[in-house]
């Protein structure tokens, strides 16, 4: 996913925002079903890879789309691509 903002955020700030968005929309019960984990994050390029349970992809996608601020600074998070394995994901991004 790509972070669209003029500011830079560390991985904790980013993930706190993502968890908060999921909890707001689906509650703690829903959030617990997503299996959300941060795999990698490039702060300079504003690019992150996260892992979620495949049944929760749409839930997480809508939660990410609902993010308008990170740490009270205007920001948006866009899902660039989704893949079944991390290897295939990096292949997709390279092409």
């Amino acid at each position: 996913m790509a972070i669209d903002s003029e500011e830079m955020f560390d991985s904790k700030e980013l993930m706190d925002t993502v968890w908060s968005a999921i909890s707001k929309l689906y509650g703690e019960h829903g959030a617990s079903r997503t299996g959300l984990t941060l795999i990698s994050y490039d702060m300079e390029k504003r690019f992150a890879v996260i892992r979620v349970v495949h049944t929760a992809v749409e839930m997480v996608r809508s939660a990410l789309a609902s993010i308008t601020k990170i740490q009270d600074k205007p920001a948006a998070v866009h899902v660039l691509t989704v893949s079944g394995t991390i290897r295939a994901l990096y292949k997709k991004i390279k092409t």
């Binding site: 669209d4 903002s5 749409e58 839930m59 809508s62 789309a65 609902s66 948006a76």
Partner: protein
């Protein structure tokens, strides 16, 4: 086959030309191939300038007029005056009379309801039935879902869930638009479709709402506005003495 996505309600500040340009570029980057920008009547001449910008960004522009009539008569008057000047006519239904008239009028393309006035969302079964016999679609802007929080968003989601059920029941096409005036609130088509998950619209319908349904409206209206159009199903193929 790759889908063509459309955002039928992009609202940049037309006085800030740089922002308009940035938003058009961003729409293209996000994967849209067709956008509609509502033009105030005073600025209808801006269309050519916008069209040039869109051409540079390789995106198709549709002229759109948002009508906010206070009475059904005012709506009819406006439709008579402007229908042939704009490709898309959307009606912001602020009262029940206007909503009912807009629903049954075949010149109206999109029905839009105020996102904050929950008592003024008139898309009920009667409205759905009227709309199903005309041509209008239900337009849902995603901006309020992004900007509202807490009870206001909960109430909006509840209204949207009810309205999409009515639309499905009466086979009224749904169009999902962004309705944003800020670049940071722009979302990819897939993200808009994912947000509809919040009011239980299934994925297939959501994808239709950001691609097939808006494109069908534009295609139909462009055909109607072309000089070759005579009546639905009848158009001029050739002109000349031997015809």
């Amino acid at each position: 086959m790759r889908r063509t996505y459309a955002d039928m309600h992009l609202c940049p500040n037309l006085k800030d030309f740089k922002q308009v340009s940035r938003m058009i570029d961003k729409a293209s980057t996000l994967g849209y191939r067709l956008i509609a920008i509502p033009l105030p009547l005073k600025q209808a001449g801006e269309i050519e300038r916008l069209r040039d910008l869109c051409k540079e960004a390789k995106i198709d522009l549709v002229s759109r007029l948002d009508l906010k009539p206070r009475t059904a008569d005012e709506l009819m008057r406006n439709l008579r005056m402007f229908r042939r000047k704009f490709q898309i006519i959307a009606v912001m239904c602020e009262s029940k009379n206007v909503a009912r008239q807009a629903a049954k009028d075949r010149r109206v393309d999109l029905l839009n309801f105020p996102s904050l006035g929950f008592r003024r969302r008139f898309f009920d079964k009667a409205e759905g039935e009227l709309t199903s016999s005309a041509l209008a679609s239900l337009e849902i802007d995603m901006k309020p879902l992004l900007t509202l929080e807490g009870p206001a968003r909960v109430r909006l989601l509840s209204s949207l869930r009810r309205e999409t059920n009515v639309a499905k029941q009466f086979r009224v096409p749904i169009v999902i638009s962004s309705g944003v005036s800020d670049e940071l609130l722009m979302r990819r088509p897939m993200e808009l479709a994912a947000l509809t998950n919040l009011f239980d619209l299934d994925k297939a319908s959501a994808m239709e709402a950001v691609s097939i349904n808006p494109l069908a409206i534009v295609k139909r209206n462009r055909e109607k506005l072309s000089s070759r159009f005579v009546a639905p199903g009848i158009r001029i193929i050739r002109r000349g003495k031997d015809c």
